[in-house]
């Protein structure tokens, strides 16, 4: 009937111009399934949609010819879901979307060689970006082929360990327009290659040299670059004071310097590095070998415009922090994560000068007490992000003050803290809060959560891992108030039942749902989540003993976007696992200690799930599965993780794990050991 009517109206969308539909499509594109329904409306819509789409992320390389024929204007091709991209596939890409293609991501793919890359480089004349990270077998010959892509601007070669200076030299000579280059973990590349790159590619903006065996020698050439904005030297052990001593070039364009984990770089070398970089905005000195003392901090006087500093894992002194606060008053972000020597006095003297502080990370600064947190709350009203996991000495009143004074907070990490319901009540006044982590907060109850549910309607991420005071009531109030919730973790909240799941199914944007170790959850609750939360991508059902095949069958039917699932230690059998093959996007499966599984069932499931990248199985299956299957899976790009747990008495362990006090006791024992 409908079809007949459309024909009578003779193209009802004649009046609609293509441009207008494109604008509509731009808005529709927010939700991928909407786009799909749009293109299925009529032939014309189908055509317009295929003309409109620019970026593609195919799930299987086999479909590349069909997809690229349909979407002729593809400019961005992301092949991260295709582990096996052969030379044939690359030549298909080159032939079908050669002139329009601007960026290709091959960072998760293998099986291609220099020949395929050559096709790509020659056919795709306007290729601007290519990501070849993780091509650990790539050699200089392939790099020489990449140099054929003359218009290349952004190149990622992370972890290409067999690449040497020769290959980088070819790229440096061939691709003169390069702006961003990442050579992280290319351990075969040294001073000569990097020096030539800096000499030939004058437009370089970003250069990542992390973990390269380079010395200060090549930095002389690198810092001569006129437009260099970002320089990453993480873990460059060859960069030391002596080779940096004679640095005389002023690199005023440099905005971001990462010198973290440079073990041989001390104050002297850093001073000569910073002396020419007057406009530096971000500085990363994490895991530096030297003590952040008064002397060390004084080398920062050249970079007074600094906006962000990271000192993770450094030993900092009180004087040093004070000096940093005095010298760099414009600091917006400070990270002192795992700086165990930070004291209340030091942090207070730092933050008292930093009125404009936006982000503060004091994770695992265990010496801090309420005094410094009160100082933070009083002097930094603009604070947006506060991460203070494991600051267990901080008193409850301090949390109240944070909520009271810092109204702009968006991100809060209170994992393993003493916060209570009153603190949550005060925090619920931060209306723009989007991420709240309350893992292992044993003092909070449903009452506190209900404040959050009422106040923070923008909440997107909530972590309640092992916060055992929470029951269904608290979760339902969250589900009621926070309709934008995307991620929730209720692992080991032992009182959670299906009711929570039913109420959470109202959050239609839910993507990640972790309910590990919730013994009361059943398949009915899971079914409501599966049916209503269409965007579900990550699901952790480990140690939920009542979850069985029927739950997985529902999932297989409704959650077509699922990428990761853990069904370890559940009641799932072969039927359930094999049904997962119906989910095309599925990439990760963990099924350890699941008693209902037989080798043949696992084999069938493995063969069925074509896009698998990672599978976690019990070690005993390794010998039971046919070796040819394992070889086949590995050739298809799937990695196996064989786990050998020795928990014989499953139930007792689960009981013990659910008891928070026992768990904490065990944790402390482990720490003592």
């Amino acid at each position: 009937m409908k079809k007949a009517k459309q024909i009578q109206h003779s193209k009802p969308f004649d009046l609609l111009s293509e441009e207008l539909v494109f604008i509509i499509l731009d808005l529709v594109a927010q939700n991928p399934s909407d786009l799909k329904s749009f293109s299925l409306t009529c032939k014309w819509f189908y055509q317009v949609e295929s003309k409109h789409r620019r970026s593609l992320k195919p799930l299987r390389p086999e479909y590349l010819p069909r997809i690229l024929t349909r979407y002729r204007n593809t400019s961005d091709l992301d092949l991260t879901f295709c582990p096996r991209v052969t030379d044939y596939a690359l030549s298909v890409v080159g032939c079908l979307s050669g002139p329009t293609l601007r960026s290709v991501d091959l960072s998760r793919s293998f099986s291609f060689s220099a020949a395929g890359l050559l096709r790509l480089a020659v056919k795709c004349v306007s290729l601007v970006e290519i990501d070849l990270s993780n091509a650990t077998e790539m050699r200089d010959a392939a790099a020489a082929v990449v140099a054929e892509a003359k218009s290349l601007e952004r190149l990622k070669l992370e972890r290409c360990k067999k690449l040497t200076d020769m290959g980088i030299g070819c790229i440096a000579v061939g691709c003169r327009k390069l702006k961003r280059v990442s050579l992280k973990w290319c351990v075969g590349v040294g001073d000569l290659g990097v020096g030539l790159l800096a000499l030939k590619c004058k437009d370089l903006r970003t250069l990542d040299l992390s973990y390269l065996p380079v010395t200060g020698k090549c930095l002389h050439d690198v810092l001569k670059l006129q437009h260099l904005e970002q320089l990453l030297l993480q873990g460059c052990f060859g960069v030391d004071d002596d080779t940096l001593q004679s640095l005389t070039h002023h690199c005023n364009s440099l905005k971001n310097l990462d010198a973290s984990s440079c073990q041989n770089l001390t104050q002297r070398g850093l001073a000569s590095l910073l002396s020419g970089a007057g406009c530096l905005e971000r500085l990363d000195l994490a895991h530096s070998s030297s003590v952040i003392s008064l002397d060390f901090a004084s080398s920062l006087n050249k970079v007074s415009a600094l906006q962000s500093i990271r000192l993770d894992g450094c030993s900092v002194t009180c004087d040093g922090l004070k000096a940093i606060g005095t010298l760099c008053v414009s600091l917006r972000e400070v990270s002192l994560s795992k700086c165990v020597t930070v004291t209340d006095e030091g942090l207070s003297s730092l933050v008292v000068k930093l009125k404009g502080l936006r982000k503060l990370d004091i994770t695992c600064c265990r010496k801090l007490s309420g005094a410094s947190i009160t100082q933070v709350a009083n002097s930094c009203p603009l604070l947006v992000s506060l991460k203070m996991e494991s600051c267990s000495l901080v008193s409850r009143e301090a949390f109240w003050l944070i909520g009271h004074k810092c109204r702009l907070l968006e991100e809060l990490d209170f994992t393993d803290n003493e916060i209570d319901d009153e603190g949550l009540k005060s925090i619920s006044t931060c209306l723009s809060l989007s991420s709240l982590k309350l893992g292992i907060c044993l003092n909070i109850t449903d009452r506190g959560l209900s404040y959050i549910g009422m106040g923070c309607s923008n909440l997107r991420e909530l972590d309640l891992y092992r916060s055992v005071g929470i029951t269904d009531i608290g979760i339902s109030s969250i589900a009621q108030g926070c309709c934008h919730l995307e991620t929730i973790n209720i692992s080991y909240c032992k009182d959670i039942t299906d009711k929570s799941l039913v109420s959470l199914s109202k959050c239609s944007l839910l993507q990640t749902f972790e309910s590990r170790g919730c013994p009361h959850i059943t398949c009915q609750g899971l079914a409501t989540i599966a049916v209503r939360c269409k965007r579900l991508t990550k699901l952790d059902l480990k140690k939920c003993p009542y979850i069985n095949d029927s739950g997985l069958l529902t999932l297989a039917h409704f959650s077509q976007g699922l990428k990761q699932i853990s069904v370890s230690e559940t009641g799932v059998t072969d039927v359930g696992l094999v049904s997962l093959a119906n989910i095309g996007c599925l990439q990760n499966i963990a099924a350890v200690n699941t008693r209902g599984l037989s080798p043949s069932g696992v084999a069938a499931a493995l063969v069925g799930c074509g896009g698998l990248r990672k599978v976690k199985l019990h070690a005993s299956l390794r010998s039971l599965l046919p070796p040819s299957l394992i070889n086949h899976m590995e050739a298809r790009g799937c990695a196996f993780l064989w786990k050998d747990y020795n928990n014989n008495n499953n139930n007792n362990t689960l009981q013990a794990e659910l008891d928070p006090k026992y768990w904490k006791l065990q944790l402390e024992e482990d720490i003592m050991l």
């Binding site: 399934s33 786009l35 086999e62 020769m166 000579v173 020096g195 094999v578 063969v607 040819s628």
Partner: protein, 496 residues
């Protein structure tokens, strides 16, 4: 007698004219020993013996040891390949001799002046060559019969290998040695022709650096030194010092003196062993400095050249003559392109040959990577060139894993093929039917009719299993009551 006389005068084949069977044995052994080394060069080098070795073989006890040792070497080194190389070496030798004779025929017409002397020299040269060829032939033949053991009448005990077939009668040898003794003077240094300095040349200091070991700074006044000019043949002769008793040749005088100790106690005195020059040195007037001239006419090192620059030592003369005026007969065994006329040069080159692995796209090679990168930084458009052997493994990468699992398919429990993309490639790359057809048509062309291959159809490998993973999936999902997924909707959902 005439021939014997010539024989003893020879400068080459010292091995042929031995005075006693003991000497003969030793020479034969040593030549045998070296001979079995496949390398021709080594053979030539081997003419000079280690003094210690000689001394050993002169002792009775040591001689025994030596024989055993050599037998051992023979037993393990004996193989037809060595024989082949020996034969080819001899062939080369004969060719060389032929060339020499050709040259003489030509030169006879040109040079009329010193006719007599030349004739004698030529004869001497040819006979030398011939003798050495004969010796080599004999020793080669002798090594063919390793089991034949003859006890010679001479004093030395133990088995002899080559000497049993030695063709020269003892008397002749003795005679030869007698004549040898008479002509001692001739063997000391090969007849330097002393020439008076006739014209006064100005030796210019600023000169292009020669390849020889040049005495750049030396500015000897003309006339203040004596100029010696060796003839070409003397320069090219491998040995310059010869034993006055047995005629064996040596490269160094010290080695000759070492060798002489074997001929009797009178040579073992300190006076006999000392350097001859030093004996005369104290008290006597300083000798006139000797300088050498190259015999090649027109050469700068020739005394007739306007800007004559003398050569300092005989070694300089030899190296200069070989480098400048001889064929470069030694080819590098690694690159097979570089040629040298002096073995030492070859060895120096071979040490570094192949190490110039840093290659630029312009063809320039560098021994150091930083030099290459400096070159590339300097020139626009030059790129580092990746050596060819490196491209091979990378081209195969990825496919090996696929082949591996393909092979496993045949034996494994679960039989399936890899992704359909692989099948597609295989089908595109090897369309078995099409290929077979073409072959079939080709086979009817008149040219290849005889060699037509009707069984060619079997030559094209086909995938064992044609089922792709999608078909497998269908099987599973239908078994579980689900419809197979639609392939067309595999585009994941990403926003623009």
């Amino acid at each position: 007698m005439e021939t014997e006389d010539d024989l003893c005068k020879n400068n080459w084949g010292g091995a042929s004219s031995s005075s006693s069977s003991k000497r003969r044995e030793q020479v034969c052994f040593t030549s045998q020993h070296k001979w079995e080394d496949a390398s021709i060069l080594d053979y030539e080098m081997g003419m000079e013996e280690e003094p210690a070795f000689q001394e050993n073989s002169n002792n009775n006890n040591g001689g025994q040891v030596n024989v055993d040792f050599l037998q051992g070497v023979r037993a393990q080194a004996w193989d037809p390949r060595t024989m082949l190389s020996n034969l080819s070496f001899m062939e080369e030798k004969i060719h060389e001799l032929q060339d020499l004779v050709h040259l003489m025929v030509r030169r006879n017409g040109q040079l009329q002046g010193r006719q007599e002397q030349l004739v004698a020299q030529q004869q001497q040269l040819i006979t030398t060559d011939l003798t050495s060829i004969i010796i080599q032939l004999i020793s080669t033949a002798g090594s063919l019969l390793p089991s034949v053991k003859h006890h010679n009448m001479s004093t030395a005990p133990g088995p002899f290998t080559g000497s049993a077939l030695f063709p020269y009668p003892r008397e002749a040898n003795n005679l030869a040695s007698q004549t040898l003794n008479n002509n001692t003077c001739e063997f000391d240094l090969p007849k330097p022709i002393v020439v008076e300095e006739r014209e006064s040349h100005v030796v210019e200091e600023h000169e292009m650096k020669d390849e020889d070991d040049v005495e750049e700074g030396e500015n000897l006044l003309p006339g203040s030194y004596e100029i010696l000019q060796l003839e070409k043949e003397e320069i090219l002769a491998p040995h310059t010092h010869f034993c006055t008793i047995c005629g064996k040749g040596f490269k160094r005088d010290a080695n000759l003196r070492m060798h002489m100790r074997g001929h009797g106690d009178e040579y073992k005195t300190p006076a006999a062993l000392a350097k001859p020059n030093k004996e005369a040195a104290p008290g006597s007037e300083p000798m006139l400095i000797k300088r050498y001239s190259c015999p090649f006419p027109g050469c700068k090192r020739n005394k007739d050249h306007k800007k004559f620059q003398p050569l300092k030592t005989i070694l300089c003369v030899k190296n200069h003559y070989k480098r400048t005026h001889c064929d470069k007969s030694f080819t590098c065994s690694r690159c097979h392109t570089k040629k040298f006329s002096v073995i030492a040069d070859l060895k120096t080159h071979e040490k570094h040959c192949g190490k110039n692995k840093w290659l630029c796209s312009c063809g320039t090679t560098f021994s150091r990577k930083d030099k290459l990168f400096g070159h590339i930084a300097l020139f626009q458009g030059h790129t580092p060139a990746i050596p060819l052997e490196e491209t091979k493994p990378s081209a195969q990468r990825g496919s090996s894993a696929c082949e591996n699992s393909n092979n496993n398919n045949n034996t494994g429990m679960v039989g399936f093929n890899l992704g359909s993309a692989t099948n597609a490639i295989e089908e595109v790359a090897q369309p078995g039917f099409m290929d077979g057809k073409i072959r079939f048509e080709d086979s009817f062309s008149p040219l290849s009719f005889d060699t037509c291959n009707f069984g060619g159809f079997h030559e094209f490998p086909r995938p064992m299993f044609d089922d792709s993973e999608s078909s497998f999936q269908m099987l599973i999902s239908s078994a579980c009551g689900f419809s197979p997924r639609n392939g067309g909707e595999s585009v994941s959902n990403t926003s623009l």
